[in-house]
């Protein structure tokens, strides 16, 4: 008997089965205990649960709402408006920090000593100071630099800049706006098809496609013709100074600008290093070979080095994008209405539905992060070297 048991134990499959069931049991017991405790506590404290509060009136104002929102809108709507603000900030932040990061990487690799030193100083300064401090710095620095409301800077009496933001005229589309949008779409397609056909033509015959210009001309003229035919149904909502500030038009708020500036400068320092590492990982023989077959300096980069470097750049870049997106949650500190601003601030304090709101916040950030990871992983798979895993 004893020997049977020890033989069973000595069998690695059996042993691992025992280990695994023990772990599954332990973890489920722990999870069940947590759920049980939470339920008991909620009951003991008489806490209202559920998500019905999302349809209650929010009561507060959001100073950057891209679709109609007012204090009578619901909490759910407020969350949606602020989620869009988070997405805009993340997306723009990713674009600007990647662009800046690319130039930083090039500068760090430059043969020019001054450029190299400046880029290195930038990287060390910005990646070593906590983001929240940078955020406060840019916000209050921006505020101190901008002119007061009565001293607004003006450009042709159309665009104004003061401490409350940048005010630009906003287009107001009258009758036939859909037709204009349609014509722009059609001309984009025309331009795309022409471009593709011209390239195919050149690649197969070695000669440029003579008639491409007609295609491009059509693409440009179509929307203009449509506008003319509709008698230019676009008017402009120009900002006008009222009692306290400019009203009308589109306003770019200093909170948004400071947020974008801070996350761009902070993340570009990291992204610059990621890109530099990627470029340096490409063997110098590749560069020499590229030069020796007569590629220009630019082509060496765009055709040979960057495509190979991308394989090393993309995985850490994915991490950086995820960090950037999550860091936008700091926005509440300087009054930019992002998702966490709404959920962690007013909604939580007004409703006290902490568990539900945490669940909403966590799952939303998780969903955004997973989406970014998914897109970049997909890109990574599409561009990896064939034959290597």
């Amino acid at each position: 008997m004893m020997s049977t048991l020890s033989r069973l134990w000595g069998h690695s499959t059996t042993r691992s089965l025992i280990y695994q069931s023990a772990i599954v049991l332990l973890v489920s017991a722990a999870v069940l205990t947590l759920i049980q405790t939470a339920t008991n506590n909620l009951q003991r404290l008489g806490i209202r649960t559920g998500f019905e509060f999302l349809s209650d009136e929010a009561g507060f104002v959001i100073n950057q709402a891209l679709f109609p929102y007012g204090p009578t809108s619901s909490y759910g709507m407020a969350i949606l408006v602020c989620l869009v603000n988070t997405l805009i900030l993340s997306l723009l932040g990713i674009l600007t920090s990647t662009t800046l990061g690319f130039f930083v990487a090039i500068a760090r690799l430059s043969r020019n000593w001054l450029l190299r030193a400046l880029a290195s100083a930038y990287v060390e300064l910005f990646r070593n100071v906590p983001l929240l401090l940078q955020l406060f710095f840019w916000y209050f620095a921006t505020l101190r630099l901008l002119p007061g409301k009565r001293e607004s800077l003006s450009l042709f009496d159309l665009i104004y800049l003061n401490i409350e933001g940048l005010f630009v005229p906003a287009p107001v589309f009258g009758q036939g706006a859909a037709l204009i949008a349609g014509s722009i779409l059609v001309s984009t397609v025309i331009a795309g098809v022409t471009l593709k056909f011209a390239r195919q033509h050149r690649e197969s015959t070695g000669k440029p496609f003579q008639h491409a210009r007609y295609g491009y001309a059509a693409a440009v003229l179509l929307p203009i013709a449509t506008l003319a035919a509709l008698d230019f149904p676009i008017s402009w909502d120009v900002p006008v100074f009222k009692r306290f500030n400019f009203e009308g038009g589109f306003a770019l708020q200093p909170e948004f600008v400071a947020m974008l500036l801070a996350i761009t400068l902070y993340n570009a320092a990291f992204i610059g290093e990621i890109i530099r590492a990627g470029i340096m990982s490409v063997h110098k023989g590749q560069r020499e070979a590229a030069r020796s077959i007569g590629l220009t300096a630019r082509e060496v980069y765009t055709v040979v080095i960057i495509p190979q470097a991308m394989r090393l750049i993309v995985p850490p870049l994915t991490n950086q994008y995820l960090n950037l997106t999550k860091a936008t949650a700091l926005a509440a500190a300087i009054g930019y209405p992002d998702l966490f601003w709404a959920v962690g601030g007013s909604i939580q304090a007004q409703t006290g539905q902490i568990l539900e709101l945490q669940a909403i916040t966590l799952s939303t950030y998780l969903a955004i992060s997973l989406l970014i990871a998914l897109l970049l992983n997909w890109y990574n798979r599409a561009t990896r070297l064939r034959g290597r895993s």
Partner: protein, 346 residues
């Protein structure tokens, strides 16, 4: 060998999850008073950064009205006003900490509202300050009244009732309302000071103190309007009825003490020589009130001895001789035309 190491690691993770589950399950406190007395210390949640209520003094120690309320309860329950641990929190986290039992009481100045009281796992104790929302603007704007502020931009702190009150007010008066809302009161004030907004708004008693932190305090003026009722009350967890009774009656004792002229200085003499029956009951000379609260006979004596009566606390932190310079107004005793009245000690 490598494989075994991995199993050990996984088992470690599982065990710590279980440990966490067991630890968290101990939140349900059978009796808060017993817990506090066993720990020998009272855990209060405060939100620092409000001058007069909870603000660091020159030595960095938090002082103010909210801190005194915490000290009064500690004195009554533990016999020593210094046996407090104030946990600095922000508005939402303090609610969570109270619900989870990490703190015994919130003495921050939270407004008593329906939706915070009902169904949120928290109970209010009693109104300790009657405040209202006020407004601060630059003199150069030339504004004399709130009704002229349609279209102005407001700097506010989130998580307070300030935001919704102002939005409601402007909606009912058909005025355009814009706000920039910060997670922190200090950032909101700084942004106003930098010129981002036309108006800074918070509860009236906070405005005067905040003005002193601005570049040029004389440049700013407080408007006459008060647009809201802000009954400020400490909070305890829902379902801890006995604990709520204790907090409620400690606060009442401070108010009754002022009514009877019992002060920090004369409380000993009052206990030994007063022949007023209510004073005798409050100070535990006669009656069995202390036993009913399961506290020692000197509970109210200790509280008054520790922090003084309501008026003394007020004068020390909010009154005319402080930077806040608040007029007592509604916070006067009922005998002076205010709303402060303790139910009878009978």
């Amino acid at each position: 060998m490598k494989r075994t190491a991995r199993y050990h690691r996984i088992i470690g993770i599982a065990a710590s999850t279980l440990f966490a589950a067991v630890t968290f399950s101990q939140n349900a406190v059978a009796d808060r008073l017993e817990e506090v007395q066993k720990a020998g210390i009272l855990h209060c949640a405060v939100v620092p950064g409000v001058p007069g209520y909870a603000f660091p003094d020159a030595s960095g120690k938090l002082v103010g009205f909210d801190i005194e309320l915490c000290r009064a309860v500690a004195a009554a329950v533990l016999g020593d006003a210094d046996k407090v641990k104030t946990t600095k929190m922000n508005l939402p986290t303090s609610f969570g900490a109270l619900q989870a039992g990490e703190v015994d009481i919130i003495t921050h100045r939270f407004t008593w509202t329906f939706s915070r009281d009902v169904g949120t796992g928290m109970n209010y104790t009693r109104v300790m300050v009657w405040d209202g929302q006020g407004f601060l603007v630059r003199k150069s704007l030339g504004v004399k009244s709130l009704t002229e502020l349609g279209g102005a931009t407001f700097c506010l702190a989130s998580g307070s009732t300030t935001e919704a009150n102002a939005a409601d007010y402007f909606r009912t008066h058909n005025m355009d309302f814009k706000s920039v809302t910060f997670s922190d009161m200090k950032a909101a004030a700084q942004a106003y000071n930098a010129g981002r907004c036309d108006v800074y708004s918070t509860d009236k008693f906070g405005l005067g103190a905040r003005r002193l932190t601005f570049d040029d305090p004389s440049e700013h003026v407080i408007l006459p309007e008060v647009i809201s009722k802000e009954p400020i009350s400490p909070m305890v967890a829902h379902g801890e009825d006995h604990w709520r009774d204790i907090a409620f009656w400690v606060f009442n004792a401070l108010i009754a003490a002022e009514e009877h002229g019992i002060t920090q200085a004369n409380v000993d003499q009052m206990r030994s020589s007063s022949n007023n029956p209510e004073i005798q009951r409050i100070l535990g000379v006669t009656g069995k009130f202390a036993a009913k609260l399961k506290l020692s006979d000197s509970w109210a004596y200790d509280a008054i001895k520790g922090v003084g009566n309501y008026g003394e606390i007020w004068d020390r932190h909010l009154g005319p001789n402080t930077k806040i310079g608040a007029d007592r107004g509604l916070n006067n005793l009922w005998t002076n035309g205010g709303l402060m009245m303790s139910p009878p000690f009978r």
